[in-house]
Structures are given as C-alpha cells and as structure tokens.
C-alpha cells in the first residue's frame, strides 16, 4: 500500500542558506509521526517545505502517490494537507466562525461543512462560546484550538502541527493533546507533529524521527525512541 505521505531526499533553502539536507520519512494513513529535535534543527522548515511555503525546496514529496514537488501551496492543501503553522496562523481580525468557514474554503459540500462546524464546537466548547468574537481576542490556548479546528474543517487526510504546545499552560496542552488523540481515532486523520516537548510528542505518536541540522539521525517507533539512551539524555531530560 502506498503511504499517505512519502518524503525522499527533501532539501530546503532560505535564500542561499540550506536548512534541510535530504530528509526521508513516510506516514501511513491514520498514523501519527512526531518530528523531534532541538531549536533550529529544521523541524518547522520540514513542514513548510512539504507545503512549499516561504521556502525553496528540492527532493520528492508524494501525497497518496501524487508527486507534489511542483504544486503551489493552495493545490497541495487541496489534496488534503492541513498545516497549522508556528504562530498558529489564525486570522486575528476575523471572527471564530469566519476562521472556521475559511478552513472549509475549498469544500462545496455545505451540509457536511455545517455538520463539521458543529462537531468542532463539540470538540472545543470554548470556541462555541466565542463564535462571534474576533480571533485576536482569544487566549493563546483558545487560538491554538481555533487553529486546529480550522485545519480540521478542511477534512484533511494529513494534519501538520507545528508546536501546538508552544506558550500554553500544561493543563491546556493536555487538553489539546487529548483532543488530537480523539480526533485521530475517530476520523483516521494522520498527523505529523513537530514538538519541542518530546515527552508529550512520544506519548501521542506511533513513530518518531529525530532531526539534527537538517538530517534525520534516528527514526523508529515512539517506544523505541523513548528508550533510546541518547534521546533520553538529550531530549527527555532523564
């Protein structure tokens, strides 16, 4: 079976500076993969390179066997990749409801979109209470929930999450990770998770890759990485 996402020799540059030096990994449908690594290792760049956003790339990326190396960002999104960028990328001047409507911008099945909107409000009751508020007035945790809900409104096959725990209180983070697990189990959406918090990431993920200076230096099942001596010392603080 072809994996949902297949990445071969992915390289990326900001201007003349090469940040990724040939990354390989794949994600089967329904799986959760975590990308671990220190600051500046290239995790965020990997997500951007997959969507061909703000970065020049080389190498092969295939979504469900379709080569997307020459696609524009909007067209990759239309294949079912929903990216929650770092800094969340919510539209702060628009209301919560408008943000969700934008998430479903490419969809034409209006009844199902309405149904999904209700589902999001069930997953995230806080957003329901703030429907008509501008997104910029939400707390950090609420904005992160909105960013994830907006991405799910696409009915994506793959959800790319960039540091969903960043800047949030531990309880809020736990909430969000519990919801992610529920959504993954309920709808079978695959998740590619970039996370500084390796403990959390390895709890949620099935598999993980460790990235250092733009290369994958270690990959395996989440359990295997949890027990790896180097990972334990460098990333789990044990």
């Amino acid at each position: 079976m072809t994996p949902l996402l297949q990445v071969r020799g992915l390289q990326a540059w900001y201007g003349a500076t090469q940040v990724l030096h040939g990354i390989d990994f794949e994600i089967p449908a329904g799986a959760i993969l975590a990308l671990l690594g220190a600051n500046g290792a290239g995790k965020t760049t990997t997500l951007r390179a997959l969507c061909r956003m703000q970065v020049r790339t080389a190498g092969a990326v295939a979504v469900d066997g379709v080569d997307v190396t020459r696609h524009a960002t909007a067209d990759i999104v239309r294949l079912g990749l929903a990216h929650v960028p770092d800094g969340r990328g919510t539209f702060t001047q628009l209301t919560v409801e408008e943000n969700l409507r934008l998430g479903a911008y490419t969809r034409r099945d209006r009844a199902a979109v309405d149904e999904d909107t209700r589902t999001m409000y069930r997953h995230f009751p806080r957003l329901d209470e703030r429907r008509l508020q501008r997104a910029g007035t939400l707390s950090g945790g609420e904005q992160q929930m909105l960013a994830i809900a907006r991405a799910l409104m696409l009915r994506p096959r793959l959800l790319l999450l960039d540091e969903p725990s960043f800047g949030l209180a531990p309880l809020v983070v736990e909430d969000i990770f519990a919801i992610l697990r529920r959504i993954n189990q309920a709808s079978g959406v695959s998740i590619l998770l970039v996370e500084q918090n390796a403990v959390l990431a390895l709890e949620l993920a099935d598999r993980a890759c460790l990235i250092e200076t733009g290369r994958v230096v270690l990959s395996g099942s989440a359990a295997a990485l949890r027990n790896d001596e180097g990972v334990r010392r460098a990333y789990l603080g044990q």
Partner: protein, 289 residues
Amino acid sequence: MEDVLQQVISGLATGSVYAIVALALVMIYQTTHHVNFAQGEMAMFCTYLAWALLQKGVPYWLAFAAATAIGFVVGAAVERVVIRPLAQAPVLAVVVVFIGLLVIFNSVAGWAFGYSVQTFPSPFGGGTGLWGGMVSAHQLGSLVVTVALLLLLFVFFRFTPWGLALRAVAENPASSSLVGIRVGSMLALGWGLASAIGAVAGMLVAPIVFLDPNMMMSVLLYAFAGAVLGGITSPVGAVVGGLAVGVLENLVGLLIGNELKLSVALALIIGVLLVRPAGLFGRVSVSRV
C-alpha cells in the same frame, strides 16, 4: 442657514465620489500595502471608454455597465502584469511604477480621445429644482448610486466566500494559501473590484467636472486625503473620510472663500492627523522588530 445646508448636501454628493475612490484606494492598500496613485487615471480612462460608447449611440446604462466591466478587467490586468512581479520589490520601486502608470493612462487617454474638454451626460437628467433648489437631480442620483454600491460591497465582503477570502488574504496571505485560497487570483479580484468602482466614481463625477484627461487629479487628491483622514486601514473610515472632505471643502469655500478651500481643508486634515496619526477609524498597526 439655507446656504450652509445646501453646501452640506452638495458636499455630500461630491464627497460620495471621493468616498468611492477612497474605498478603492483602501481596498488596494489592505491587500498590497501600497497606495495606487494611478487609481484616478484608471477611472478617467474607463470614463472615456463610456463616453466613446455613448458617442456611438449606446444607451447610458449599457455604456455604464460596459465601462465598469472594462474597469474590472483593466484593474485585474494591471495586478497580473505589473504589480505581481513587483511583490518583493522595494516600496520606492512600486511608487515609481504607480506614477508611471498614472502618466501612461493619462497620456494614452489624451492621445486616443484628445485633450479638449468634453461634456459627459448625467443619467439623472439636468434637473436642478429638487427640494426648493437645494439639491440637483445628479447630486441625489450620485448619492443613491454610492449608497447602493456600498451596500453591494458590504454584502460581498460579509456574506460571500470570495469576500471572506479577500479579507483573509488582506490580513494574512501565507495563512490564506494554507486554507487553499489561491492568493494570486484573489489579489487580481481585489484589483479588479477597486478599479471597477473607480470607474463608477469617474462616471459620477464627469458630469460635474467635465471630461478631460486630468479630471481625476484633484479627485484623487481629495480621495487620498479622505482615506488617510478616515484611516487607510478602514473601509468605513474611507467612506466617512471621503464624505467629510467633500463637505469640508464646500463649507470652507462658503465661509472663507473658494481660493483657499483646498488649502484650508487639507490643513484641517493635517490637524486631525497630528492628533490621530492612524486616522479617525484606523488601527495603529504594531509590528515586531
């Protein structure tokens, strides 16, 4: 007192034209963060096309619709051909391009249609006597068209997916492409709309100022002042600012004299901006350095 009321009403009528052009400027500014100095000349050019159609005996509203549609195409084409390649260019380069466009549209219109002043008909007739001579039929008609246009734009931006997408692109192009919006097409759409409503403004003002290649110069200046007064980041502000400039211009003309009306009106605007640099309705944008 009656004089004052009359000047206010006619100020609202010319102000409505400033308001439309100001709105066009704001629409472009919101999506590209540039002021399109050629906005007025593009509108003038479309007005000439309407005039040419009218000369051929085309009915007024058909010519009006055609010129508006051509305005849309011209705006979208300018975005595609000239502006998009300059997306990463320094501000000054873009300013030069806009000034270049201004001169090009101006001289092409002069070359194609001549520099002599032409009359442009009003669809509302030449009636002058409404409400005891307070307001002309054309002034009233201009106000009605403006209000209708503003309502249409409001509905478009508030209730259609395209309008929502345009607002999204104006705020955050990168996130917009992440929800599958084709940002380039939306920019072209925004430019087309701005240029189309500019054309409407041109056709509304031409019966008053008469048609010649320079007719939009002062309109653009007033509209720009209105947009900045209201706040260049605020569509509502642009409309209010445009109307305010129109009324102010007339009242200063009545109370102080026509020679100084431009200077005094602009001095007042500068005064407001000294106190509120972001304009009456504008938001102060804070960017991290």
